[in-house]
Amino acid sequence: MNPLVLWFHKLGSPPYFYSFAGRWIPWLYGIALVAAAFGFYGALFTAPADYQQGDSFRIMYVHVPCAWMGLFAYLFMAVNGFIALVWRIKLSETLAMASAPIGAAFTFITLVTGSLWGKPTWGTWWTWDARLTSELVLLFLYFGVIGLYHAIEDRRQAARAAAFLALIGVVNLPIVHYSVIWWNTLHQGQTVSLIGPSKIAPSMLWPLLTLAIATHMYFFASLFARARVALLELESGKEWVRALLPVTETSHD
């Protein structure tokens, strides 16, 4: 078998994933920290002030990467949820449910920083424009997924039901993304794009991209840490977990 495919298949096994994630977590946190330090240095010191918004635009460096991550985490959750529902892979259930609270946190940060940014630039904390409303709906979808997951007793059934809900909520993702194009909104349009030139000065762009790398690394580090704990709980009766954890209760007999 192709080594890459073989590795991918192995990754689906909880004990293999557990040790794999354990090895990667410190590196991911490390890269996230270094990238965040570089990014914030660039964002706060080297990037010039905006000609219109002055220094207040610098909150973008928190707002935009978190907004990307809010969508990315949802997509990640939905893709893993789809895999979990179709192929019944236990690891995908765990990953989907582990990414929900992280994505909810990123979405919450996006809303809060957006609100703080809106006050000096738009003159209001909140406005019911399409981007803000759809982002709020995204947060509620996250809450729905988390709430459903915790309301069902059986962990695996709960993960499948919540993954199904996450899949239904995917319709909101394009609405969030295209809301600034479809509707005439107060929220500004897209300035950074993967395909084609971005409408932002390079001196302002690089800290943003560095911080985007930092948030991605943080997402995966946090995801792995959560998934490891969830796997231990889910597989607590299995041999590999017993071999892993220090045995205390059996020592006296």
Binding site: V137, F140, L141, F143, G144, L148, A151, F164, L165, G169
Partner: protein, 227 residues
């Protein structure tokens, strides 16, 4: 024993559900009373000024109708789960999506249709301008089946939980926000004298899509919950 045809199973299910509603027809009136009371609270809170009430009338009626339907959604599969007939539907040889579709249709017929019928009364309570009323009726006729369909998917996910009411609200409300925006938006556009057909067409398009997908999704969700 030879199973009957699919259409006879659907007819039997429709008759049974209608009969069950008819036997407890007092309960079926609860959503109506709820909607009337919610609508009646607004003039008490905002004051009886005609211009203010007319301004918020369409949106308020929309919200009241959606909330009333949401309250009744909780019971969509409850009695069937308790007496075991839901499992019988799942193991029956007929397509589950079709049977669930029948149940959703009965839910719409017994809760949403009465609400649409009393919508003119609610409109009068809130001094809705008479030229907006037809638009409101069409918007409700398009938006309420959407709520029944989407709600059924969420109910199927929460079926079997003891306290599903609050959770169900959390699941359903974000998903029906577009129906509310387009439905009430059409009424507001009509009230301001603008063209209102675009949001209604959006609602209709979404309804057509949901009629096809939602019963399938509800059936899949039900299988997850009952597994």
């Amino acid at each position: 024993m030879k199973p009957g045809t699919t259409s006879s199973a659907c007819i039997a299910l429709l008759r049974r559900d209608l009969l069950l509603v008819w036997r407890r027809r007092g309960d079926a009136l609860n959503p109506l009373l709820f909607a009337i009371i919610v609508v009646a609270l607004f003039p008490l809170a905002l004051g009886p000024e005609t211009t203010v009430l007319a301004r918020i009338a369409a949106g308020t009626i929309f919200v009241a109708v959606l909330l009333a339907m949401l309250l009744s959604l909780d019971a969509l599969f409850r009695s069937d789960l308790e007496d075991g007939s839901l499992e019988q539907l799942v193991v029956s040889p007929h397509p589950l999506a079709l049977l669930i579709g029948c149940k959703i249709f009965i839910h719409w017929l017994t809760t949403a249709l009465p609400l649409i019928v009393i919508a003119p009364l609610l409109a009068q309570l809130l001094q809705l301008p008479s030229q907006v009323l037809p638009v409101l009726m069409i918007a409700l006729a398009l938006a309420t089946p959407l709520l029944s369909l989407i709600g059924a998917v969420c109910v199927a996910l929460t079926v079997g939980m003891r306290r599903s009411g609050m959770l169900l609200t959390l699941l359903v409300l974000p998903l029906i926000v577009p129906a509310l925006i387009f439905g009430a938006g059409a009424c507001n556009a009509a009230q301001d004298g603008f063209a209102y057909s675009a949001p209604l067409l959006w609602l209709a398009a979404w309804l057509v899509l949901s009629i096809i997908i939602a019963p399938l999704a509800a059936a899949a969700a039900l299988k997850i919950s009952l597994s």
